[in-house]
Symmetry: C2
Subunit: 218 residues, 2 copies
DNA sequence: ATAAGTCTGTTGGATTTCCAACATAATAGG
DNA sequence: CCTATTATGTTGGAAATCCAACAGACTTAT
């Protein structure tokens, strides 16, 4: 267990909190570690959430399916990131699915316990809540960014806005994205083949270079 | 001032807090009330935010403009709701604009002060932070809902998903929305005239009835 | 090494949206 | 009450997307 906690000590949720402190809090927060295999469903639409997750290792995707089966990727969860906290705190059932796209290990924490300072002398609660506020706010900003991409009217504009944002996040005109073509199309809400065609155009027009998941804006 | 505070006593931010308690906290939170006229800009893209707002009266819209001038409405702010808190807590400049669409009165509160319990005996801080956690989580869910609408591939599907959500929120097949046609198009990320045409089709096919902003799903 | 499966790019036709222009209805102001 | 303005609906052609199908490159498993 301690070994697992070492892995997540740099997560934003634990900012300002030591592994020892976390370890002593785990009982209080009803911490549980679970494992999931690649392609396994971690959480499905309609489920009630009382614990949110902190990804220790692996990779998850938060996705939506419409009644036609079209898939939309809301976001990706990488190690050290948390998920499910929004639904936990508003006490609504999840409207999204969460899929493991790699073998994954997750620490689940009780959301109610976390936001209610207990009487056991867990003085770290205050810090945890502040961290949580920061993380959720940040997710809010990320969702707004995604909306900015999706609100573009053409596939070309969606691509350009997305790639520009990635470039800014990486502080470089050259960067690698974690989506393959199908996933990128699902994230932007467009058709894969049309997107591929548009990427070709952008390459031909000398606006960018790309090779697999590596892009360079010119 | 006390008169204004009475108006917002039912806001979610002040859940569990009395007007008197709020009044005593105002200095601590550096509360300031400002007025804006219809069509005035409350906050513009790129601005740094240190105080978030609580709308006392009027109506605001959070909007994005792309470089072609296309407008996207992210959400509407009605009295008692807060705005700007996400950017305040992640300490990023705003990527959105906030416009007053009616004459409005806003209470601004210092975000840093709010999330950091002070030593003046303001015991309500804890409650405020918990309320904030709930509100931001809820916004997160709302943004996800908007993404669900926008991720639909056709105008028709976007309309149907949106109207269904509104119907659920109102607990009735019959409901009134706060958007006019242009605003609805801006919210869904589609063209107004095409949307109008699609609405006509839906009416003709007997799927819904509508008259101005009043809709009825059949 | 081979075969099976996956990922990416290409293409053409059907469908849908976008855009601009106009008609009519509803609203606001003098 | 009349006029000016705004909101909504309609239409046709241009543009873009979607869809299905396929080819080639790359990866994985046996």
């Amino acid at each position: 267990m301690l070994n697992e906690l070492e892995k997540i000590k740099d997560s934003e949720l634990l900012n300002g909190i030591t592994v020892e402190e976390l370890s002593s809090m785990l009982g209080c927060l009803r911490g549980v570690i679970k494992k999931y295999q690649k392609d396994e469903l971690v959480l499905s639409e309609g489920e009630k959430i009382e614990k949110f997750g902190l990804l220790i290792e692996g990779r998850l995707r938060i996705v939506l399916y419409d009644y036609l089966g079209n898939k939309t990727i809301i976001s990706e969860i990488k190690p050290n990131q948390i998920f499910g906290e929004a639904f936990a705190y508003v006490d609504k059932v999840s409207s999204t699915n969460i899929e493991a796209i790699e073998d994954s290990k997750i620490l689940f924490l009780d959301s109610e316990k976390l936001s209610t300072p207990c009487n056991n002398g867990c003085s770290f609660h205050k810090q945890l809540v502040k961290n949580l506020l920061y993380i959720i706010s940040n997710k809010n900003v990320n969702l707004t960014e995604k909306i900015e991409c999706m609100s573009q009217r053409t596939t070309r504009e969606k691509l350009l806005i997305f790639l520009n944002m990635e470039s800014i996040k990486n502080n470089s005109k050259e960067f690698t994205i974690s989506f393959d073509r199908q996933a990128l199309a699902d994230y932007l809400g467009v058709e894969r083949s049309a997107m591929s065609a548009e990427l070709s155009k952008l390459r031909n027009e000398g606006i960018l270079e790309s090779e697999k998941n590596k892009f360079k804006l010119l």
